[in-house]
């Protein structure tokens, strides 16, 4: 594709817009979190700043900026200042490869993908940036020169490394089905006319569960928010941080939530695909259809942000050894099983000449096989508990 000046300008505007939308969504996620928390706990929630309290994020921002910006005397000053900013940077970088919409017709035969960059290694890029995100917490915690911060940082690092493995294995199953690492191609293969029935969620139920659990762990959200576990570590890795440097850490968490929601929508829920998009395209033209697609992706991503909040106010926190056990002895073996079973679900319909829905039946039967296997394994290994009877 030749890069014309129109395309360049349009792309620049698009990237600026995505940047602004991501920041805006992150700011209003803080408001959303309070509203959801209030709703779950039967309280009123923020209602003072503006109608329904919708200016609450602005008030929070003013509060954050006005607070004293404190740097501990014996901290590593440069690292202490640099890493909240880098944490923010890595959180924002991921959205470059998420396809937010289909092609937009700019007139004059120029078409623009509503995606930052369409690279052949799109999903690996997401992984690379996620693995960079560990450093923000790890180094920030160390630079504070505080034992609690250091413990929080170490927890964050080991947790992220452990859950990255299971996350990678659950993505391998998706790659087996689409045959490409490009996020654009992953969305397009889910768009083959059967409406939402061709989304990956139907053929990857186990993979999606693994992925969402790992996304919770990677974003350090409850029930896996052990790096900032107040009861044990005061504030965890951001104990020493105040003012807007703390704000950056909190903000990057919300950006990560939104972006991981968008990635989950892209991988498992058809990205910008929505039911009857051919009808919309035939009726109102390509541009309207693409913009509705952007709305569809945003809706899916925001739903996942809501799920993140929902879980936060529903489940209590794990203990640290439980977290590590779940990651290494639970999710990684299950995701390996998922990779093998996905191979079966691709091979069985092609070798026996069955229709396409057979692969979906095979992949859902995988859940049954997994459960039976787990029950047999559990029965064989767990010791019989002796019940003390009263005489």
């Amino acid at each position: 594709m030749e890069i014309t000046s129109t395309l360049f300008a349009a792309k620049a505007i698009y990237i600026g817009l995505i940047f602004a939308i991501t920041l805006g969504v992150a700011a209003y996620s803080t408001y959303g979190e309070r509203i959801v928390a209030a709703w779950m706990q039967d309280r009123v929630g923020p209602d003072r700043a503006g109608p329904f309290g919708i200016f609450q994020p602005l008030a929070d921002a003013v509060k954050m900026f006005m607070k004293e910006d404190f740097i501990p005397a014996n901290s590593s000053k440069w690292l202490f200042i640099a890493w909240p900013c880098l944490s923010m940077l890595t959180a924002l970088l991921t959205s470059a490869v998420v396809p937010f919409g289909d092609k937009l017709d700019l007139g004059g035969g120029i078409e623009m993908d509503l995606q930052g960059i369409d690279v052949n290694i799109g999903i690996l890029w997401v992984f690379g940036i996620v693995s960079l995100g560990v450093y923000g917490i790890l180094v920030g915690g160390w630079a504070s020169n505080n034992k609690y911060s250091l413990l929080g940082a170490i927890r964050a690092a080991s947790q992220n490394i452990s859950y990255e493995l299971a996350m990678g294995l659950s993505i391998i199953a998706i790659l087996m089905m689409t045959g490409s690492l490009s996020t654009k191609v992953i969305v397009e293969t889910q768009q083959n006319g059967a409406g939402f029935l061709s989304w990956n969620i139907w053929s990857q139920p186990i993979g999606f569960v693994i992925f969402i659990v790992c996304a919770f762990a990677e974003c350090n959200r409850t029930p896996f928010d052990l790096p900032e576990c107040e009861t044990e570590l005061i504030g965890g890795y951001h104990t020493e941080y105040s003012s807007m440097k703390l704000g950056f850490y909190l903000f990057s968490e919300y950006i990560n939530m939104f972006v991981s929601g968008a990635v989950m929508a892209t991988l498992y829920f058809g990205g910008y695909d929505y039911p009857f998009n051919e009808v919309v395209e035939a009726q109102f033209g390509q541009n309207i259809a693409a913009l509705v697609g952007v709305g569809a992706l945003m809706g899916k991503a925001l739903f996942f942000v809501f799920v993140f909040m929902w879980v936060r106010w529903t489940l209590p926190r794990f203990r640290y050894d439980q977290l590590m056990n779940l990651g290494w002895t639970g999710l990684i073996p299950i995701s390996m099983f998922n990779v093998v079973w996905t191979g079966l679900s691709i091979l069985i319909p092609t070798t026996f000449n069955l229709p396409a829905w057979a692969s979906i039946v095979v992949s859902w039967s995988g859940i049954g096989v997994l459960l039976i296997g787990l029950i047999i394994y559990h029965g064989a290994t767990s010791k019989k508990k002796t019940v003390a009877l009263a005489h």
Partner: protein, 172 residues
């Protein structure tokens, strides 16, 4: 334009590698290594090896260097504890010898690569292929022409994994 980008990434790698060599703060050395790896990933992307660039970020920055920094952070800090700082400083700073060794390595590698005539060797062996995505080519090659080395390295890694698991279990 592409030359400027290349020079930027090359300078990034070289300067941060020099910092690794010359600083006596172990943690700063580790972070400079992070920048060196990033610069190398950029250089890989410039020569068209996009998969190699991302693999560099995933494996070296996301895996190996995190463990390295992990180890450094948990290192016992004796020297500077009394002043309340948590910098980890090395006691030996053999900067001159370090520079000599680095220059020697550079000279050796430069000699080998310049004698190699890679461009001429490759020109007679392979037909020109248009520049395209490398992921599919790498995957196909690994599963067809290079399947034996691929499987052997898999067995080797498995053995290393089992060894690590055995060493870390409690003795019964």
């Amino acid at each position: 334009m592409i030359q400027l980008v290349f020079i930027a990434f090359a300078l990034l790698s070289v300067v941060s590698a020099l910092v690794v060599l010359l600083t006596n703060n172990v943690l700063y050395a580790a972070f400079s290594l992070l920048v060196t790896f990033l610069g190398m990933a950029g250089l890989y992307v410039i020569v068209g090896a996009d998969f190699l660039g991302v693999a560099q970020i995933l494996v070296y920055i996301g895996g190996i260097l995190v463990l390295l920094i992990f180890g450094v952070m948990l290192t016992n800090q004796k020297g500077t504890k009394s002043q309340g700082r948590n910098d980890i400083l090395t006691e030996n700073t053999n900067r001159v010898i370090g520079l000599v060794v680095a220059a020697g390595m550079f000279g050796l590698l430069y000699f080998v690569f310049s004698k190699g005539h890679f461009a001429e060797v490759q020109a007679s062996l392979f037909t020109d292929t248009p520049l395209k995505a490398t992921t599919q080519t790498i995957g196909l090659q690994l599963m067809t022409d290079f399947v034996l080395p691929f499987e052997v390295s898999g067995v080797l890694l498995m053995a290393a994994l089992l060894g690590a698991a055995y060493l870390s279990t409690k003795q019964k």
